[in-house]
Symmetry: C3
Subunit: 281 residues, 3 copies
Amino acid sequence: MIYKKFTTFRTEQKGAILYVTFDYPPVNIQDIPMLADLTMLSQKLERDSDTKVVVFQSAHPEIFVAHADVDFLKDMSTHAVHQGEVKLLDLQVVLERVSRLPQATIAKIEGFARGGGHKFALACDMRFAARGKARFMQMEVAMGILPCGGGASRMARQAGLGRALEIILSAKDFDADQAAEYGTINRALDPQEIGPFVDSLAERISLWPSAAINACKQAVYASIDKPIEDALKEEAYWLYQATSQTAAIKRFQNAYDSDVENDMTAQRNWDQIVIDVQSIV
Amino acid sequence: MIYKKFTTFRTEQKGAILYVTFDYPPVNIQDIPMLADLTMLSQKLERDSDTKVVVFQSAHPEIFVAHADVDFLKDMSTHAVHQGEVKLLDLQVVLERVSRLPQATIAKIEGFARGGGHKFALACDMRFAARGKARFMQMEVAMGILPCGGGASRMARQAGLGRALEIILSAKDFDADQAAEYGTINRALDPQEIGPFVDSLAERISLWPSAAINACKQAVYASIDKPIEDALKEEAYWLYQATSQTAAIKRFQNAYDSDVENDMTAQRNWDQIVIDVQSIV
Amino acid sequence: MIYKKFTTFRTEQKGAILYVTFDYPPVNIQDIPMLADLTMLSQKLERDSDTKVVVFQSAHPEIFVAHADVDFLKDMSTHAVHQGEVKLLDLQVVLERVSRLPQATIAKIEGFARGGGHKFALACDMRFAARGKARFMQMEVAMGILPCGGGASRMARQAGLGRALEIILSAKDFDADQAAEYGTINRALDPQEIGPFVDSLAERISLWPSAAINACKQAVYASIDKPIEDALKEEAYWLYQATSQTAAIKRFQNAYDSDVENDMTAQRNWDQIVIDVQSIV
C-alpha cells in the first residue's frame, strides 16, 4: 500500500510497521485537513494486511496533537436535538474508525495532547507517554461543551468512573506519571526510553499474523461493550475468523515440538519458543 | 436556592459551591432522617443551576458517615422475590438520585465510611480521602446480606472486578492509600492537604457553565452503561444539550483569540487561557 | 461433599475452605482431563453450601497451570462461521462455570500461568501472585489465534482496555508487580507472605453465610454486564435471595447490641464486632 499525499502527517513504512508522524506546523492542530488525512489513512489501512502495527508520533518537539480546531465551535448547532435524531459528529466518526482499524495502534506521546489530541490518543489501542514532556487536558467543560470526539465515552473505559469524571470536570493539565497512575495511558517512560520501548513493542507485534491481531482487538473491544455471555460468543466468533484466515495456526502446530510442552527449560523460555516458531513459519 | 431545615447535615453556600457537612451525632448514622434529608437536598439541587459543585464532608472528627442504620434490617423481607417483581430499595433510589445530580459532587472523606457511608461516597462523582483518618469497609456479607445501596453495583465500575470482589467478600477495613491503589477513591491525600485540594478543585469546577458540567457527567456515566456506538450518540446528544443551554460557547469563541492557537507560549499555558476566558465571559 | 477421584489436582478440605492443588506432572497442562476434573469439581461445588471458599494453588514449585494443551489446536475448525451460529468453546464453558460458582474463589499463583493458565486465573474471583515466582503471558496472538477461554473477554474487566490490549497483543511475559500495577491481579506479595495472606483471607470469608457470599458475587458480576438501573435491580434481587436463604440476618439483629451503633470505641472496632457476632450466631 502506498501511503502518500497527506497534508498533516508523513508516513514511514518499516516492514509491517507504519510510523505516522504528525507534522503540521505550527502546533499540529486537529482541523478539517487532519480529519481528512486520518480518514484517507484509515481507508488504506483497512485494506492493508501487510501493515500490522501503526505508531502515531509527532515531529514537533513539544506537541503531539495540540487540540481540535476551535473554529469547529463556530459551526456548531445551538439547537437542542431529541435523543432519537442524534447523528454522530465528524470527529466521533473519524476517531471511532481509527479505533476499529485491524492493525494494532500505538500512540507515542512526547508533548501536549489536549482536547482532541487526547481524544485521538484514547482512540488508539495503547498509549505511552514521555515523562517531563507529555501533558494532557480535557478543557471542553470550561468552553461550555464536553469532550465530544469519544473523550467522554472512552475515558472511563481506561480509568474507571471517578477518575474519568475528575479529569473531564476539572479541565486541568496532568502529566505522564499522573496519567499512568489514573490509567489513561499504559505507562509513563523516561524521554530516552520511550522510543526504544515503542519500537521494540511494535516490532514484536509485527511478527504475529494480521488476522490474529485483528481478532484479538475486536474481541477485547467487544468484551467491554457486551455482557459476558455475548462477549464469550464474540470471542469464539473471532477465533474462527482468525483460524480461517491464517495458516499460521497449522504451521505453529507443525513447527512446535509437542515434547517442548513437558520440558521445564522450554516452559521457562516460552517467550523464545514463540519468537522462534514465528521466524520458522 | 435556600438550603435549610435539614436534620442530619448543615449547608454552607460559597458562590457556586455548596458545602454539605454531615453533623448528626453521635456517629452520622445513615438512617431514615438522613435519607429524607438527601432526598430533599436532591430535589432542590436538581432545580438549582446556580450551584455547580457540591462537597460532602463531616463535622465529626473521626467519622464521615458511619454506616446505614442496622434497624433497616428489621423491616427487611425474608421472602425471596422473582426477578421480574423486584423494586429498587429506598437506599438505592436515594443514592442513585444523588449520583445523577446535575452538579459535580465530591466526597471529602476524613473518617470512617463503612457500609452505607461507603456506598454514599461511591454515588458521588469523585472521592478524596485523608491518610490516617479515612477507613472504608463493606461489612454486609458478614451480616448475611450484600452492599445493597449500589455498593455491589458501583464498586467494580471504579476498581475492576477482582478488587471489587475482594473488598466486598473480605468485609475488611482498608485505608486511604489502599483505596487509591485499588481505585475506589481518586486519590489519598495527607490530612492537612485534603481541605485545600478539594477547595481548589471545587472552585475551579465552579467556573464552568452548569449545563456543560451536567452534560459531561451524564455522558461519562452513560459511557459505562452502553456499547460504544450508543455511548457516542449519547455524547453527541449531550453536546447539543450543552450548546443549546449555554451561551458560553459563543462567548468563548468571541473572547478566544484564534491567533493564540498558533502561539507556543499560549499552548504551554492553555490552562491559563481557559481560566482567563472564564473570567472575561 | 466428597471431593475425590480427580486426575489433575488433589483437594483438601479445611472447615469451609476447599484447597484445590493442581498436581499434574510434568507441567500442570490444561488438557481434556483437567477440564473434565474442573467440570466435575464445579458440579459438586454448585451443590455444596458447606464449602464457602475455594483456593486454587499448585504443587509444582515453578508452575501454576502452564498453559492449555497445544493439541487443542489440532482439532480446531479452520472454517469461518457466521456470528449467529457460534457456539461456546469447551474451555469457555468450563471457565465460565468456574466463574459463576457460588463459592468465593481465590487463585494463589506462585509460578507460570500462561495462556489457559492465565485464563483460568482470570475466571477466579480474586488473584494473588508471588513476587519472583509468578509469570503471566497470553501468547495466543503469536500462534495465530486469540485468548479464547475468556481471556480476551475478561482481561479488560480487570485492567481497562489499553492495558488489556497491550497484554494480549504483545504476547509477552510479565511478573507479579507488573500484573498488580496493570490490575490483572489483586496484589503482588512476597513469596513467604502469600500463603499466610491467602489463608487468612479464606478463613475470614469462610465465616460468612454462604447465601450472602453467593449473592455478593452474582451482584458484582452482573453490575459489570448491565446498565446501572438493571444492575441495581439485580442487586436488590440478590439481597432478597440472601435474606430468604439465611437466618443470619435475624441472628445478627439479635446478637448485635444497637447501643454499639453510638459507641465510638465500637465504631473504631467494627471489624471485631462483625467477627464476634459471627462467632456467636
